[in-house]
Amino acid sequence: QQQVKQSPQSLIVQKGGIPIINCAYENTAFDYFPWYQQFPGKGPALLIAIRPDVSEKKEGRFTISFNKSAKQFSLHIMDSQPGDSATYFCAASREDYGGSQGNLIFGKGTKLSVKP
């Protein structure tokens, strides 16, 4: 019940394409769903996050879509660029809780390559 399942494992798109990365969770108590972006040799960095009171959130070219009933959320990258090539991780947690319940549970990651 603590897992976050992420797909696909890798993704190749052409510049300008719209890669979509999907995540599914089981714990209905989760109420915070961030995405992290990781470039080679660097630590992950927070990209965008959503809470279950909204179905979509946009920040620049990045959009999170959230489906509470299906327990799924996805990341869309509009007009993708070669500079977006990175590994993307979804995560989930109970944000307002400290201790183990508040720790982020990460998906296994998606390696995105955007070809020029």
Binding site: G41, L46, F89, S93, E95, N103, K108, G109
Partner: protein
């Protein structure tokens, strides 16, 4: 601000050796975490701390120990290194709970 600083960046250990991975943050964050990252396996939580003097196990704590004597520092100790501990280790911190983790740049450890 430096954020989260990890040292060393790279290390090769022989089986059975011990070492300490250092992590320091200058953001006055209460929460600190140690993760390991293996190819295709995502980030696995090793240990975490919600404040100075308080630590707890994560998903994969075996073979590791931590301490948190100050708010700033959260070292990870490997005793009797094994090849299964070959991985990239990330330290992270947050002000409170799961919002906005700040990660260090990682330590790549190889055990031979």
């Amino acid at each position: 601000n430096a954020g989260v600083t990890q040292t060393p960046k790279f290390r090769i250990l022989k089986i059975g050796q011990s070492m300490t991975l250092q992590c320091t943050q200058d953001m006055n964050h209460n929460y600190m975490y140690w993760y390991r990252q293996d190819p295709g396996m995502g980030l696995k939580l090793i240990y975490y701390s919600v404040g100075a003097g308080i630590t707890d196990k994560g998903e994969v704590p075996n073979g590791y120990n931590v301490s948190r004597s100050t708010t700033e520092d959260f070292p990870l100790r490997l005793e009797l290194a094994a090849p299964s501990q070959t991985s990239v280790y990330f330290c992270a911190s947050s002000y409170q709970g799961s919002y906005g983790y700040t990660f260090g740049s990682g330590t790549r450890l190889t055990v031979v």
